[in-house]
Symmetry: C2
Subunit: 367 residues, 2 copies
């Protein structure tokens, strides 16, 4: 790990999954962390797993940075209280929505411009399928985007401190203003979540013989429909205006598609369908690849393996010995067989070499 940029102590307000993960990550870097939660149990668990020590007003040292890691609907009031209780500290929050919180703080009569200058909204784009302090991980933010949303009145020093928090936890800093942030996450995070939930909800009453035909397409598109509703209803309601704009666009496209499919032999029907699919191609192609690289088509080498311990290990050992870097790996999930296919994605120039190396080592490469 590199040098630590942040000066402590850091007070974490809210010791759920994210707050406790921040505490763990900073504590492991030797930064002094104080923990506070409205639930005595939650703050005790966070302390017990090494995220820091429980904050005791009047006796704990004064924090240089307060990280408010509360649910979105109580974030603004927790930030306001932190700004007043700790008049020398920078205060950041980590909620997934930024405009509604900034507006609430700007409208807060208890806060002056000097208070607001110490506030910086941030959003670490990381999470887990589980919640609560026991699921926390100090490495949760490693290599993930962390958006820093300075506002017009933010002090430069506070913006720098917010950035240091992200960097110390291994994240990649992105700078956007609150409106840009909310529009961006509405599109790349909230909209896919809603679309996946809408899609998956159609499966509720599906016959079992239909679900038995499910392939990777259905699995991929519905994976995030398993997300926890409790947090999401707050996110969606706080970012409603941005999300509604996108959903209006979706509804227009959907209405057009339904009209086309209601008269599939009608004039222009096939052209309409081709247009829809083509727009999907174009949109999908704009998503950047691994490590922020431009989207890239990898070459895929498919290998048939038995579903037994050690098979994939043995395969990837051979891939490693061939000296070819693996860009991605997918396991084909299908029903009723004890063999499967593994798709190895590599740079296009390396696939032939890899295929030859694997065939030489007796792997069944699909050609």
């Amino acid at each position: 790990m590199g040098a630590t940029h942040l000066a402590g102590p850091v007070l974490v307000v809210g010791t759920g999954l994210l707050g406790t993960s921040i505490g763990l990550g900073l504590s492991r870097r030797g930064i002094s962390v104080l923990l506070s939660d409205t639930s005595p149990t939650a703050q005790q668990v966070a302390q017990d797993i090494g995220a820091g020590s429980i904050y005791v007003p009047d006796s704990s040292p004064e924090p240089a940075l307060v990280v408010v890691a509360a649910p979105p609907d109580v974030t603004a009031s927790a930030v306001s209280r932190a700004l007043r209780d700790h008049p020398a500290a920078t205060v950041v929050d980590i909620a997934s929505v930024k405009t509604s919180i900034l507006r609430a703080l700007q409208a807060d009569e208890d806060l002056g411009a000097a208070d607001l200058a110490r506030y910086v909204g941030t959003h670490p784009m990381a999470g887990r399928e589980k919640s609560g302090p026991a699921a926390a991980r100090g490495e949760l933010f490693t290599a993930m985007p962390w958006v820093i949303c300075a506002h017009a009145g933010s002090a430069q020093d506070s913006v720098r401190i917010a950035g240091s928090l992200a960097i110390d936890l291994g994240a990649t800093v992105h700078r956007l203003d609150a409106a840009e942030h909310d529009a961006a996450v509405a599109l790349v995070s909230h909209f896919p979540q809603v679309a996946s939930s809408l899609l998956a909800s159609r499966l509720m009453n599906a016959p079992a013989h239909a679900l038995a035909l499910a392939g990777n397409g259905l699995r991929d598109t519905t994976r995030i429909a398993a997300s926890d509703p409790r947090l999401w209803i707050q996110i969606l309601s706080h970012n409603a205006p941005e999300l509604v704009g996108i959903l209006h666009g979706l509804r227009e496209d959907l209405n057009r598609l339904i009209a086309t499919l209601e008269d599939p032999q009608g004039p222009g029907a096939l052209l309409d369908l081709a247009e829809l699919m083509g727009e999907g191609n174009a949109g999908q192609a704009r998503i950047p690849g691994k490590h922020g690289a431009p989207p890239q088509a990898f070459a895929v080498v498919t290998v048939i393996v038995d579903d037994k311990p050690g098979q994939i290990a043995r395969l990837l050992t051979d891939v490693g010995e061939a000296g070819v870097n693996l860009e991605d790996l997918r396991m084909e999930h299908s029903s009723g067989h004890q063999v499967g296919m593994v798709e190895l994605s590599v740079l296009p120039g390396r696939s032939l070499e890899l295929t030859e190396a694997l065939v030489e080592r007796s792997w069944k490469v699909v050609q």
Copy 2:
């Protein structure tokens, strides 16, 4: 490989990706395959890569089975011609839609009941991101579902032959009637495709700073939006009635969601959102797991690795040596870092043991 069930010769009509893959798979099992395509180039490529020999009317042997592997919009006429040209053969098609083809054949005045008895509709649920005979693979159908749709007039012998074709190619046989099939694939295949295309098309004009925040949620939900429009417009238009019914349901849910988000502070808004998310949870949970097993929550062990050749191989070697079977593997794709996280899914009872084994071998396991 097990015993071959199918008697040849098998005539494959249409040497695109699927037809040529069938030819390759059967040829490798020693079954005599004849190839025919309206494109002389396509049938030549198929023969050159070993899928069989080009069919020459009047001189080639008479086929026992004809597999029509033509695009959906010409499938019915190709089946009709095959039934008349080969009066002793079973004729199957492999198009992704079944009712429209069966209806066209039943309405065909050139065909009698004895002809129709020799026809069985089928649908192998396999494909690739590429098309054409050069992309064919004999193992394309291994462990994939293959739906056999006998109709009321199908001869038992022809149904048995259709099933043998699927079994010989390593697929898993599912028996449904044409209407059940079309409703099932509308839901588990055509609807996710359309939803993914609609979702991805919203990204066409998105700012780059928004797309830079894309995570696995967006990547998973839009992956199949990259599908080739040419085949899909035929599939969608042929199965329009079934798909429209599902899209009406989606539109109702979408209208409800938009109304809720347009008044996010209104009475019942949060409850509405919770309901949407909950329905998504319930639908997603019904998708069966690997090998047709009931859906199962695997335990995930997350490991931080450097992005260098051989790292993942080394990791999976250690997983194999720990004797724990890998149920799934996901590589975390995020921007701007040369380290990544690998999520290893294992049976819940094995995760602790695996974590200990990996930590002992100096892996950085996220805990």
